[in-house]
Amino acid sequence: MALAEKILEGDIRAAARLMRDIDDGFKSALDELKILYPHTGNAFIIGITGPPGAGKSTLVDQLTAVYRKQGKRVGIVAVDPTSPFTGGAILGDRIRMNRHADDAGVFIRSLATRGHLGGLSRSTMDVANVMDAMGMDIVIIETVGVGQDEVDIVRMAHSTIVVMVPGLGDDIQAIKAGILEIGDLFVVNKADREGADRTVRELATMLEMNQYKKGAWLPKVLRTEAHCNRGIEELVAEIEAHRSHLYQSGEIREFLQEKNARVFMDLLKERLFTEVFQHLHVNGRYRAILEGMAARREDPYSAVEKILAERFKGGD
């Protein structure tokens, strides 16, 4: 309990510790999150996604500088991949943004994916919630470098920015499904590089092919050179335009409904699974099932049905 109350009083170390407890799956973290939940829902969440090396961290750094100039408090959650072999990770997003580290109005947290797919860690939403409860006006979530299919961010962020760079592929890449469908804004970073005009054109053409409902938000393609701070003010203006659109059009209600449904379902799935699976381990059933499958004595379909029938007696 102590952590949540300290966090609400502005204790940075308590916040950092709770994030750790969340990431490490400590049961106590849930009790703390219960206390914080009524204090969340105020931060505007911006998602930044795109391929590795596109300049996501540098953009986050520059966006943070602009929002700080406006006097807003900024929380940053930066996700990098975990090694599938050792479980270790190098979390290097801070390299680009650590000039903000000792600014009391900024809190940066690096997270490792820990085997979670989708471009984020399992803990990302809850860590962002802690920042929200800390009173951050803006929370920026930077995904791992993504390929084509890591789209979890779109349910989490009010505005999702897809960052691309010149030279990654032809215009067929741009009409494939996946991350190119999820942007509320598209940024072609490193816009001073050769091929930038073509990339902008291809993205714009792709967007023109989309069917938009009347009054829907039309995603724009912006050009930035994040390392020398070009195009950043325009990007912030466009994010703010999207934010206004969300509220004026009422789309925010739909967004929140979907987001809350997702949060609830994910939690339910995780807890149900853990509940049942831990029990299987305790009484040695798990190993017996695997042995049964190896000998083709038992099939996995019946095994699961049996376990569910025992676990949830009387209901189906």
Partner: protein, 134 residues
Amino acid sequence: MSERKFRVLVGKPGLDGHDRGAKIIARAFRDAGFEVIYTGLHQTPEQIVAAAIQEDVDCIGLSILSGAHNTLLPRVCEILREKNAADIMIFCGGVIPDDDIPGLKKAGIREVFTPGTSTEAIVQWVKDNVKPRA
């Protein structure tokens, strides 16, 4: 699932740009299963401590080859104490004369690794001397 993952911050305080050693150490910790927060070059003591607190690391490893270790490293320890974070253990590596080591340890640096130390020895030392938080 509720098992602590080791988190270590690897950084380079001050002005020297030689980050090969820091990167090798970061990689060695990664391969040993640690989560390594790498803050990169040219960090002030204030930035290092702020990052260590926000990331809730168990320890800080600093690489320094500029010769400014007697100024910068005790300053990091001092700020950790000011911020009520002296429980975060700190060690360093680099070109550090033997004569300077007692002074650094007195200032709060728990161990000093000089050239020639193997990465295995450093990782093992951290495993032996740092417990992830309860």
